[in-house]
């Protein structure tokens, strides 16, 4: 797939403080890349660099294989005009919804008829057909954000930059915006979306790039980022709540790591005995075992523990906090399973940390 934007070794310093360092990232044609990271990770700065608002302190920025990092004037404008950006807080120009959506077209010199046709089309896409004459300042936050989307889409950009577009929205407006984003993608527009919400990054992204303290931690398809996080940060940020520090005891086809008083077997990785490592497993991969039937010898890492706490986790799941051998393990189990097995707070449970689901994490 052709790349639309490519960053090579991009760093940015503001007043001596490094906000981005050594970013290598490619945005491919037609893809939706989500940029996931906590506040202050440098997501917005990265977006501003791509939109040619901020010049990188170091590195190269390619737009369609052309180095554009140092462009100025009309040349810069030409490149920027093939992109559009939507911000966290929708900024409405004083005037009608039509005025707002038409803005980008008018400054590009489109004819009145063409402007009207395209504005109508864009408003339909965001579900605000017939809103043309409304004053933009009377819109609700969610409607304003959708107008901001229409205003960006109407110019038919090659690349749409969405900087935390759902952060200030309620869940219903957020869902609407998500479906707009999917429709935009169907139009063939490449999208970069920044967010600090892992569910959003994973649900929308063709690929997810995780950013922390100005450095890219991992870039890959959502499944990979969720189930094969490379670093402890990525694991924590994507919901891998069971993370333990341990010592390698054996390195072979199956590695053995001692965590507290518990020995865990897991897939082989490169390490030497005695080395301290960090391992993790996602809460939905912790399996409760029945105690009324003989134990299946396939199960590895079978542990016994006491349920310390049961918390609702969404509508269908419960999160059990289990104490076992000095460890605290969270297990997400369907509500009906918990009921059927008669698990309650203070009771004993048998569970397995499936070996193939345990992963080593870099600090």
């Amino acid at each position: 797939m052709r790349s639309i934007v490519r960053l090579e070794g991009v760093s940015k310093r503001f007043a001596g403080k490094e906000v981005l360092s050594g970013i290598n990232l490619e945005i491919r044609e037609g893809e939706l890349l989500t940029l996931l990271g906590p506040s202050g990770a440098g997501k917005t700065t990265l977006m501003r660099i791509i939109n040619l608002f901020t010049r990188p302190s170091e590195g190269r920025l390619y737009f369609r294989d052309r180095d554009v990092a140092q462009l100025r004037g009309e040349e810069l404008l030409k490149v920027r005009r093939s992109m559009a950006m939507v911000f966290q807080k929708p900024v409405m120009f004083t005037g009608s919804v039509f005025y707002n959506v038409a803005y980008g077209l008018k400054i590009r010199g489109y004819s009145r008829a063409e402007v009207e046709r395209r504005v109508d089309e864009a408003l339909r896409l965001v579900g605000l057909a017939g809103y043309e004459a409304r004053s933009a300042h009377t819109l609700s936050g969610g409607e304003a954000q959708r107008v901001a989307f229409a205003r960006a889409i109407v110019i038919q950009p090659e690349l749409l930059l969405l900087d935390e577009p759902t952060t200030s929205l309620d869940p219903i407006s957020e869902a609407r915006v998500h479906s707009i984003i999917r429709r935009v993608k169907e139009l063939g527009i490449s999208v970069v979306l920044t967010t600090h919400k892992q569910h959003e990054a994973l649900a929308l992204g063709d690929r997810v790039a995780v950013l922390k303290d100005g450095k890219l931690q991992q870039v890959g398809p959502p499944e990979e980022v969720i189930y094969a996080p490379q670093t402890r940060f990525v694991a924590e940020f994507t919901g891998m709540v069971n993370i333990f520090e341990g010592v390698v005891e054996k390195v072979a086809e199956v590695c053995r790591v001692r965590v507290g008083q518990v020995q865990l077997e897991m897939p082989a990785f490169e390490a030497s005995p005695g080395e301290r490592v960090c391992v993790g497993i996602r809460p939905e991969e912790v399996m409760l075992l029945r105690t009324d039937v003989p134990l299946n010898p396939r199960h590895r890492n079978v542990l016994e523990g006491v349920v310390e706490e049961i918390l609702p986790q969404g509508s269908a799941m419960l999160r059990l906090r289990i104490g076992s051998g000095g460890l605290r393990i969270s297990a997400d189990v369907p509500r009906h399973v918990v009921e059927k097995m008669g698990v309650r707070e203070g009771g004993k449970v048998l569970f397995s940390l499936k070996a193939s689901c345990l992963r080593r994490l870099e600090e």
Partner: protein, 245 residues
Amino acid sequence: MVEYLVEGVVRAVKLLITMDPYVISVAKVQVLVSTSAVLLASATAVPLAVLFCFRSFPLKNFLLTLINTGMGLPPVVVGLVVFVIFMRRGPLGFLDLIYTREIMVVAQFLLAFPIILGVSIAAINAVPESIRETAYTLGARDREVALLVVREAAFGIITGILAGAGRVFAEVGAILTVGGNIAYDMVTPEGIIQVSKTRTLSTAIPLETSQGDIAAAIAFGLILLAITFILNLLVSVLRRRAGVA
């Protein structure tokens, strides 16, 4: 005492209704001079305000302080300075402008300009940075962004223009000093009438009062009041619309 006042008001209203040529000529000079001054000040101050806000340059804050000081200049002092510059022996004396309507426009321009400039700068600065950024991301050029920002600041800028107008219509000191408050006699088929050359509503009032023509003074006062009332009404209507928008 009260009868004297009532009689003055009645005669003043009569002067207005009959469109007394003297009263009308004085009002015309006022409107001509003050409106010209405000229009010229607006035409220069608004673009300068845009430049001021969009460019960074040394001593910007100091300049802003000067502009804000200029908003409160005593009109008499402005009149004096303009007079000294334009008097016969002054540096621009060769232009021979003293006691003309043109010089009155100059003096009132100097009074209105800092107000319109200062208020416009404040209005433009109050437009959120995010408006500019949004326009840039949509592909606007500097000029287009400037136009958009002026549009966003329009209510504030118009308020500034109206405030400038309020000031020049109300002031006496500057136009009296440079204009001289001159009217002359003109012979017409109906008889000799007085016609204003540089006499305005605000300068005519103290003169007529001191000469004992209270009715004329009240007539001028009523016109002036009506003008300032309309200006203030416009300001408050715009303020309210800006508040809603």
